[in-house]
């Protein structure tokens, strides 16, 4: 088996007295699509910066692409790609100029740069926009251009910090197709996102809450976690005409541990033994289901908060 692309052990990052990342351990395998989830400000971006060697680790050790980020940050950065949520290329430069700039920054020879950018233009389809100012491109094309710039130096690992925030669904789907093609070539991807459907696409998912990595596993494993579905409880998917009022009523019942609206339906965690009639659901269509990833993250966040307050 190949050595892991990322091997982080007890990574801790502090800013003064604030602990932004607390003893996070994780591994990412070559070609793996790894999802990093968690609320804003939970430490996802800081963790990524730590794994690139941009912020010093207060404790722990991180090996990225076989190198210690604490001592070989520059070499690590030469082999990783990074794409941030905010478009971070130069808007007053054309697509071509941005690509040329990053080719220079990554030290590509003119011949290499030409060959590689042609290859990437084929992959992403940005060729027709070469002479347009990057600032005039639409959100989806901006992200593709950002991806081209992040891939010029053939990185073996790419960090994508909310790459699909604010772009339309079609562009989002296209971008994911691209990402899977990269993963198929053996490139590891670490992606942060708030979209649950994107989390479901990841091979493995880590959930960071208040600087701690709470859970780590495949989406399927996370849904099976005992804490998420306590003994003697089950998840129901309830279809009813008046979901909003039903939700309020369900939440007031002692037999209902959790309830939330999910599109057309209500997701509820109810105690075993509570019949549909007791819950006033004789009229509604009720299906037993497994928890969604969102259910998982909400439940473990609450458990963590309860632990802290008690």
């Amino acid at each position: 088996m190949l050595p892991p692309t990322i091997d982080a052990r007890d990574v801790t990052i502090r800013f003064g007295s604030l602990t932004a990342v607390n003893r996070v351990s994780l591994t990412v395998a070559p070609g793996e699509v790894f999802g990093l989830l968690g609320p804003n400000g939970s430490g996802k971006t800081t963790l990524i910066r730590g794994l690139c060697g941009l912020v010093p680790l207060a404790a722990g050790k991180a090996m990225v692409l076989g190198r210690d980020v604490a001592t070989e940050s520059e070499r690590v950065r030469a082999q990783i790609g990074y794409m941030s949520q905010k478009f971070s290329l130069y808007e007053d430069l054309t697509t071509r100029e941005n690509i040329e700039f990053y080719s220079g920054i990554y030290g590509l020879s003119p011949a290499e740069a030409k060959a590689r950018s042609e290859e990437l233009m084929e992959l992403t389809g940005v060729a027709p926009y070469l002479d347009q100012y990057a600032g005039r491109l639409s959100g989806g094309w901006k992200q593709r251009l950002a991806l081209v710039c992040a891939l010029l130096h053939r990185p073996r690992l790419i960090f994508l910090d909310e790459p699909t925030a604010g772009i339309d669904p079609v562009a989002r789907r296209d971008l994911w197709d691209l990402l899977f093609r990269l993963a198929a070539e053996g490139i590891s991807l670490v992606i942060t996102t708030h979209y649950m459907d994107e989390a479901e696409r990841c091979a493995r998912v880590g959930y960071i809450y208040l600087s701690n990595l709470l859970v780590l596993g495949t989406p399927h494993e996370l849904k099976q976690m005992p804490g998420v579905t306590p003994p003697g409880a089950r998840w129901l998917e309830i279809y009813n005409a008046d979901s909003a009022n039903l939700l309020l009523r369900l939440r007031s019942l002692p037999g209902v541990l959790q309830a939330t609206i999910f599109g057309q339906s209500i997701h509820a965690l109810v105690r075993e033994g509570c019949t549909n009639a007791e819950l006033g659901l004789s009229q509604a269509r009720v299906v037993e289901t497994e928890p969604s990833l969102e259910d998982v993250f909400v439940t473990i966040s609450r458990m963590q908060t309860d632990k802290k307050t008690s």
Partner: protein, 372 residues
Amino acid sequence: MLGEFSHQRMYAIARKESLHIIRDPATLFFALFIPVLELFMLGYAIDTNVRFVATVVFNQCRTEESKRMIRMFENSKDFRVIKEVYSDAEMNSMIVSGKAQVAIKIPEDFSRQIEAKRSAQILVLVDGSHSSVAGVALNVSNAIALQESLKQYFSERTLLIESRPRILFNPDTRSANFFIPGLMVVMCQMMAIMLSANAIVREKEKGTLEQLFMTPVRASELILGKLIPYLVLTLIEFGTILFLMWSVFQVPIHGYVSTLVGLTFPFTLTFLGMGLYISTRVDTREAAGQMAMGTMMPSIFLSGYIFPLDSMPTFFWYVAFIFPTTWLIDAARGVILRGAGWSELWLHAVVLWGMGIASFALAAAKFRKRLS
């Protein structure tokens, strides 16, 4: 080549930065146009030499001698008689209303006193609200009175001592010769500090700096790559002002331009470094602009650019020499007006190069520590 300074990366940054400059014609226009505008303002409009001061005359004596006295005032070219008045009240109101800055009153007994070999008096009222005008009016009227009394005293004999002043280096005492070298220095300073402070802060604002830090680019490559285009631009501006000074305003350059460039280069480096330092402290271009302006103030008022150093209190005279601007303005006037060379300006060179290297090195170290 990893782990070492890469010229390719530095060149990529410099090229990109040049594109930013070209793509932002507004900034470029203002950076180059404002100094030229100021040059024309200072060169044409402002004349600190006092000439043709508006003067009223109240001649109560009306003799041939008194009229000759008034002609002497007029002939000096420092005074311009705008009106003759016939009462004290009228004379006073001309001064108070600001229509005249000087009033000359020759009393009735002026000629009689001279004939009687007694001291004849003339009254010169000077509006002190313009200090430089008042000073000139006082000096000139004293000189005229003195000269006239000497002539009366020695009548037909020649004067024993005559002062024949000759003004060196700026024979016409033209203001342009005094101001433009200073302007050139102050404009270079403003441009260097503004451009370099903005260069990094703009990337911070747009989030592009974060992306750059994810690449193997080093702080030294980033700093040099960014500052080289700005250094070139600042020196172009310097050259433009120098050329216009010489061609349009006919200020002769007595020394070597190479001396001037050799001193301006470290000076520019000092302020590029300062701008860089500012950019590590603030996150918005607005804040950077304010901090940059803050450093401009003492440089303008204490550098001898407008107000002569020699008339400053001793304490401020010493303070003035903390600013590199003071050194370069002095040196620039030396080279341009007096033809000074390295043998006269070696101390300036040592100080300016020292400041330039120190400022740049400190800023670069600070930048590296804070951002990477």
